[in-house]
Symmetry: C2
Subunit: 488 residues, 2 copies
Amino acid sequence: MRQHHMHKPDHSHKEKIDYAKMAITLDHNFSMAEFVGPENGLQEKDLENLTPRLEEIDQQIKTWRQEGTIGFFDLPYQEETAKKINKLAKKLKEWCWDLLVLGIGGSALGAKALHQALCHPSHNLFPPARRSYHSRLFVADNIDPDYLYGILDAVELRRTVVNVISKSGSTAETIAQFLFVYSLLKGRLGADKVRDRIVLTTDPEKGMLRHLVQNEGFPSLSVPPNVGGRFSVLAAVGLFPAAMVGVDIEELLEGARFMDQRLRSASISQNLAYRLAACYYLFLSQKARPIQVIMPYAAGLTGIADWFCQLWGESLGKKYALDGSIVHVGPTPVRAVGVTDQHSQLQLYMEGPPDKIITFLEVDKFQHTLAIPRLYPEMEGMHYLGGHSFAELLQAEKKATAFNLIKAGRPNLTLHLPEINPFTLGQLIYLFEVTVVVLGRLLNINPFDQPGVEGGKQTTYGLMGRQGFESQRQEVENAPPVLDKYVL
Amino acid sequence: MRQHHMHKPDHSHKEKIDYAKMAITLDHNFSMAEFVGPENGLQEKDLENLTPRLEEIDQQIKTWRQEGTIGFFDLPYQEETAKKINKLAKKLKEWCWDLLVLGIGGSALGAKALHQALCHPSHNLFPPARRSYHSRLFVADNIDPDYLYGILDAVELRRTVVNVISKSGSTAETIAQFLFVYSLLKGRLGADKVRDRIVLTTDPEKGMLRHLVQNEGFPSLSVPPNVGGRFSVLAAVGLFPAAMVGVDIEELLEGARFMDQRLRSASISQNLAYRLAACYYLFLSQKARPIQVIMPYAAGLTGIADWFCQLWGESLGKKYALDGSIVHVGPTPVRAVGVTDQHSQLQLYMEGPPDKIITFLEVDKFQHTLAIPRLYPEMEGMHYLGGHSFAELLQAEKKATAFNLIKAGRPNLTLHLPEINPFTLGQLIYLFEVTVVVLGRLLNINPFDQPGVEGGKQTTYGLMGRQGFESQRQEVENAPPVLDKYVL
């Protein structure tokens, strides 16, 4: 299955892909007044009215790119990095069966998404030969001790590469995991053997993990300093784990480049990212729809939806506008999966408050179609399915869902992926990254910071007894006591 | 790890559990005005003012129970069913390695949640002996052909039991899967051997699956007709898969009974479910907070959060009030996981719009603590972690998160589980089921139906060519065409 992802990068097949046929398309008809009525839907003129704002933002993006302040725009062009990573991965896979990623948030979600979308659904359950000797992937993105213990129970420690990922080099969860796993491996393998097995992905110059690279000689990969964690999936953060599980990362970057070229060559009004951001912005600002559901009709894209939720939540949920005024903005991203969540969340989306806009991800062609057999002609409720395929049923259900949503005045839009492959994933990832930046600027906030989580980190330092954070500990200890009447 | 779940039900250990010490508690201090201010928090008097409404609802529940109209209240007392299921599971596990559940929505989420919470985190990766010969679990809750193919690629078909779950017996996705898997198995094993391996869980008398049981002799389990799909995890729907993977289902029911007794013996004002529902209701009706985040600080409870999202979304997202007026109500449930989503969604929760109420699930004692080693004394940013445990770090982070949320005026509440075990899970499940019913009645809607998804099902029938649904197909075909200008 999915042979062209499962095997090692094979440059010969690249010629065969017709990239133009692999372009993602956006169909936002069902978000428009023509289909859901003027109260619920957008007007073409509202989109047009945003053109001046989008021109300013377009200019801002050009300036950022010239100045090199925002690094993710350049990642698609890091072909040398991809080559270097492939080389490292190839060498490690001579003996490595399992890759254990220690990372959280932007250091975890991209790798998980790529693994899920581009490897066999049962990749981690297969023996090495059936994975073409690509590694299994375990991402320890929580510090729950039972969970961490459970993962360590499953990996083949003597055949495991540990990839510690923290851009800052100081993420408490990741550092704690590193200390634990490093000690564990040292005990099992001896100090001299351990070092080659722990790859540190971090800032090229700063931070504690880089310090360890410099002082103790751990192998390392770099995250460019101007690339934020949640924009780093196309840097070593996402590429190295992807290469280890057998994803064609050069093709992934090819897809991102394809999208970049497409966005840069389009006029403002025909720019896919700008149109998408404009739709989302209008639903927030004019239609009071603060919830953005991302709903792939493909089980393999669940991880991409989780990655999207981080990109959206952390980039757009902000207290302050760029001018310092207090705004408290940001859509709430919600992950759903078709057809599964038709039997869970769709009732709410159909009948609940009109506070949502739904983005479907639709896959036009799966690797398999799977014919449904014709059985039980005496039971009409079974027999009608026979002769169709699962792919047909899935597409019919997506169509039926979108159609019934607009009948109820519920706007939705669809991004079409011709297939799920590294090239289309590269496009999709890059598209969402540009879109969130544009949407952030339309909302007049800084999409690149995350000041709201700093307080919690400092309180944790205080509670854990870290020097210099005594006042934070004090603050918690001095807080008014909880009242028994509110405890049951 | 988690030995008392991993092994076969062992009645001797039950004496050892002190049930009173295993009681779930609710701490909703941080949802109150005393902690988040009068604008954001609830007043004690508002809770008190709900007492007359809650008394009515209490009466309604008593009536339902007497009349036997709402079946989930009785499930904790189906000890005979649990015994029968354990007997069947024991017999099947003599040869079965893998259980494949074909089901979706309420027929999938409960089993997935129990498997994730109560089995070893790497259960499905272990060979049979390391699972104490309990089955692996695969839940095919989507019709994505690549996903279905991928699962079938992983199971040991000759050692697989298939559990087809559909209360109505006519769920299109599940029927299609049944037809496919039945044909596949028949081809591999021969018609006579297949039948014992396909257990149909459905209505005791009606529907197509029951028809097959009666006419072709498939083994079967029953879902009581008065138990809705999303309330059926404590019926055979959830219990049989749980038993197959080694969960102590009698203990699960014991926990549900414990909660039921507790709720029934409490006064209205001290009733855990009523208090919880009252808090949620006030945040919806008085505080305009339509988003309810469920955020377990335990990786193993992720599936419970998904199960919660279905229970909430489908029960509460309604167009019509009980008197027939149009209301379009229903909170939007959102799943987050601590600490993971501190690095994804917390920024939004801290700084975004004040439209959320967060429910933490906190586990007081994990199976493991995992000490963080003291290393690198020269680096203070690493060294402070040494000597603490992962369990401590997790709890500090939860405390820090809740504390910083209230500092920002963001209400939250916490359900404490003393441990994760079948007894506490049974309590939690039953508590949420009662709570959603009470919340539904406070919202003045019917929490037991899901009329909003009917249209989509009928459109799908039409598109798939089912007899009697020609007009639905026609409706889609006659719809106005999409406009090219909205496709990019």
